[in-house]
Symmetry: C2
Subunit: 516 residues, 2 copies
């Protein structure tokens, strides 16, 4: 648990050192925290009986209403497993459902191309993953515009440099200038080239998922990626209660190679669920469990991630919201269910509705991340960059979130008691009306005791004014700019780099320039 303090200090030095400080530290190894192993208990908002009640209602939904699986092969698999199938409607009885769900391992290892960045997911092990899927960016000059490949490269560089991010995600923003049929190749290439952390797969078609696996095979070895998790992919249920062909195709590719999927319905509560937080959880739980169970028909024992992305909608406009009290409350319920099922689980962290990295973004972000941490989530995503309900990735927001994650990493690491006796001795040394700045204990714990951010500003008003009276959003953009200036690429082996380029060239020749 000393890592965070070290890292923050380093960043702070880098900043205060200015150009010279940056130069001096150039070439120093990037600080990257290991898996967050939570040292604090999970918070349960409702009693066990309430969790059981929701669980029972979810089972009833799957038994009585059932779930759509709109794919012939999926239907055949469900029939063979003994489910009650009528056209694409699958009704799953509780014994079959829970038998399949129980095959999922409670924890798994997610491999990175740099073994030092390999992480564990599940149980007490949690990781932070940057956002995914923004068509727009809010750029370094605070303009909102379409994302580009250069932006995506930048976000992968930032993800690489952020100590508390454990993954590079993949399509943090869309490289909009690249034709859709070819885009996935460049997204995965960017994630693999500019960062050495685990990444995320493409799910928009079977072919693109296969391309993703082929690229992963070049980097990790074809044989390795047949059985060992190196990427995580999101498949969304079409709420209410529909798993469509595209998602099922992606599931087939990834689950059969033992690559974990996130089965986490994206629910707009009040529109795609009932206008009840508890009712929404019962439904999303049913959807997620049906998805998890299906993966075990594809490959029993394959690692999977249960979960949710649930926001409420503005009941007047239908617009998705973000950091609301109900979004936090629903996380606690999903966390309790995940623990009941002993499943690794995903929730979101900093996913806000705010258009800007302003006060709203901050209030929303920490409403959600606090709940994500205390509900014991294992795969905390989207944890950096997210603005505007996911339509925009902001550079300032990204840098801000990366700093905040250092604080959350420290928070979830618990309260250190190891120097408690020395701290008590310091009180005796100082006595009434003294101060502690010069005590032995303080000198020894000066750097590690407390979170020391650098984008957040706690200087005096006068000092802050002298430095330009910059708001947090401005300071966040500066931080992102400085980080990018300091970036050094964790180079791929030449053979691997060439292999990826060859594959991209070969595939691009065959792929059309637009979606027909």
């Amino acid at each position: 648990m000393n890592a965070p303090a070290v890292a923050v200090t380093e960043h702070a030095n880098r900043r205060s050192g200015g150009r010279l400080g940056r130069k001096a530290i150039r070439g120093a190894p990037i600080v990257s925290f290991p898996t967050l192993v939570r040292q604090i208990p999970a918070y349960q908002m409702v009693p066990d009986e309430a969790v059981e009640l929701i669980h029972q209602e979810s089972l009833l939904i799957l038994e009585e209403v059932g779930c759509e699986f709109r794919d012939d092969e999926a239907i055949a698999l469900w029939k063979a497993a003994g489910a009650d199938v009528s056209e694409t409607r699958v009704r799953i009885d509780r014994a079959l459902l829970m038998e399949l769900v129980s095959k999922v391992p409670p924890e798994f290892t997610l491999n990175a191309r740099n073994p030092d960045r390999t992480v564990r997911v599940g149980g007490k092990n949690s990781i932070f993953v940057p956002m995914y899927g923004a068509p727009y960016v809010r750029d370094l000059d605070n303009n909102r515009r379409y994302g580009s490949l250069a932006d995506l490269n930048n976000f992968h560089k930032l993800a690489y440099m952020a100590p508390a991010l454990h993954s590079s995600s993949s399509v943090i923003c869309e490289p909009m200038e690249i034709a859709v049929p070819k885009r996935h190749l460049h997204i995965i290439h960017s994630a693999l080239k500019y960062s050495d952390k685990p990444f995320m797969g493409i799910v928009t078609s079977k072919e693109r998922a296969e391309d993703t696996m082929a690229m992963a095979g070049i980097v990790f070895g074809e044989e390795f990626v047949r059985d060992n998790p190196v990427l995580v992919s999101i498949t969304n249920c079409n709420s209410p209660l529909v798993w469509d062909a595209t998602m099922l195709d992606a599931m087939k590719v990834y689950a059969r190679s033992n690559q974990p999927l996130i089965l986490a319905p994206f629910a707009l509560c009040g529109a795609s669920t009932s206008a009840s937080a508890v009712g929404a959880v019962a439904q999303v739980n049913a959807e997620a469990l049906a998805g998890v169970a299906f993966t075990q028909l594809l490959r029993p024992g394959s690692p999977q991630i249960y979960g949710q992305f649930m926001v409420t909608v503005d009941m007047k406009t239908g617009a998705p919201m973000g950091g609301t009290p109900e979004a936090a409350q629903m996380m606690y319920l999903m966390g309790a269910l995940a623990r009941k099922y002993r499943l690794p689980w995903r929730t979101s962290g900093f996913h806000v509705g705010s258009k800007l990295n302003d006060a709203q973004a901050g209030y929303e972000s920490n409403m959600l991340m606090h709940a994500a941490i205390l509900s014991g989530a294992n795969y905390i995503w989207h944890s950096a960059g997210w603005l505007e309900a996911g339509l925009t990735c902001g550079y300032s927001k990204f840098a801000t979130d990366c700093e905040q994650l250092i604080g959350w990493y420290k928070y979830a690491g618990g309260l250190p008691f190891d120097d408690f006796k020395e701290a008590m001795a310091a009180i005796r040394e100082v006595g009434p009306q003294g101060h502690f700045l010069g005590t032995q204990h303080t000198l020894e714990h000066f750097e590690s005791a407390f979170f020391m951010p650098s984008i957040m500003d706690f200087n005096s008003y006068e000092q802050w004014k002298a430095e330009g009276a910059k708001d947090h959003d401005t300071r966040g953009r500066e931080k992102a700019r400085n980080m990018l200036a300091d970036y050094e690429e964790p180079k791929l082996d030449e053979g691997i780099a060439e292999g990826l380029k060859d594959l991209i060239a070969r595939r691009e020749e065959k792929l059309p320039d637009s979606v027909s």
Copy 2:
């Protein structure tokens, strides 16, 4: 638990209705939520044994190091009680300490001049109280300047109008144009005149505390205020381990009239405590318990509020911070101790270091409020307006916090299960791939299901741009301006109003125009 939804809807209508909407609602009764009765469990971050360990160390501090009580009467009282006294140093053995602490009632009623605003404090009962003590304001035009009486009146008006604020505080900002010796009279007058909620006392001298009680006596009746809590006052320990004469004088006035004190040391962790979160808590707990015990020498059984205000300091500059992970962690420890002692307890909520109502303010605010709520605090103060470590009260921040409190009120009210069966029926009605907007359940729960803020903006980017692309800070100022335009005074009876004016005039004649 329907109150929040009603109120938010009303505010939203008011805003979207513009001038006409405001006019239509003018004269409508102000919405004010009753005491927050928490329906969610407290979160305990460390096991019981760790709480016990801290408790034991606090007892040892008071037995071995002791605490300074720099006042002759206080020393005499401690001697009479059997403490080990040497000059102003009081060493209190655990039996005496805990016997005194156990005399404090676990809950009490705090009376308002409007009985509908009377609240409970302690146990499951919590209240939100706006900030206190800012020399500066960040005004409606976003300028930072000295506070004035007009500003203070405005903040009391806003506190009156905010549904989830349960108190008017008192010196939300300092009316800097009024001479210090006379200022307290105008502060209390403003709180009593412009709002009908409970308020806070003045503690800067015995005389001023007596003036406060005299003014309260005019409003509530002299006899009533001798025994019934109508105001709450903060007395700060001079950390480490000093209760000074000014604070002890205020304690004497208020405790002897059964008016609750907050015994919540203001600790700059790392400077006035050791550089250890756990060590800081052990010290602050000792200081708070010593203060609580002393109040029971003044009036056994008088209601008191145990607690803390703890922020970490930037170890490079010594500047106080705000919404840091350690500040939240320490709250959970203090909450666990408060439950152990069965004491009503105070922590802070939205107390940030940020200079502006920007992203930093938001991240800090909800880092802290989430912990305040989950640690089960009863008197959550400072809950509105606080910027810049308390040096500034911001209009935008105040309005923002008032809206956020509605969300927190709803959050702590727990997850309603009463319509769960109906929500489950809605899923059966809708089935796969339907939507819920037209179901009977949705129509019935449209307004109450989810938090619906109005300063937070979840509109589409295009809509938001068309409305001026305003950031949250700007929208907060507009909200404050609109609220003030809608304000209607909850008038005091004429006799009481005259009585207050007379008292102020009489006292002002006797008081000097400057501190000698």
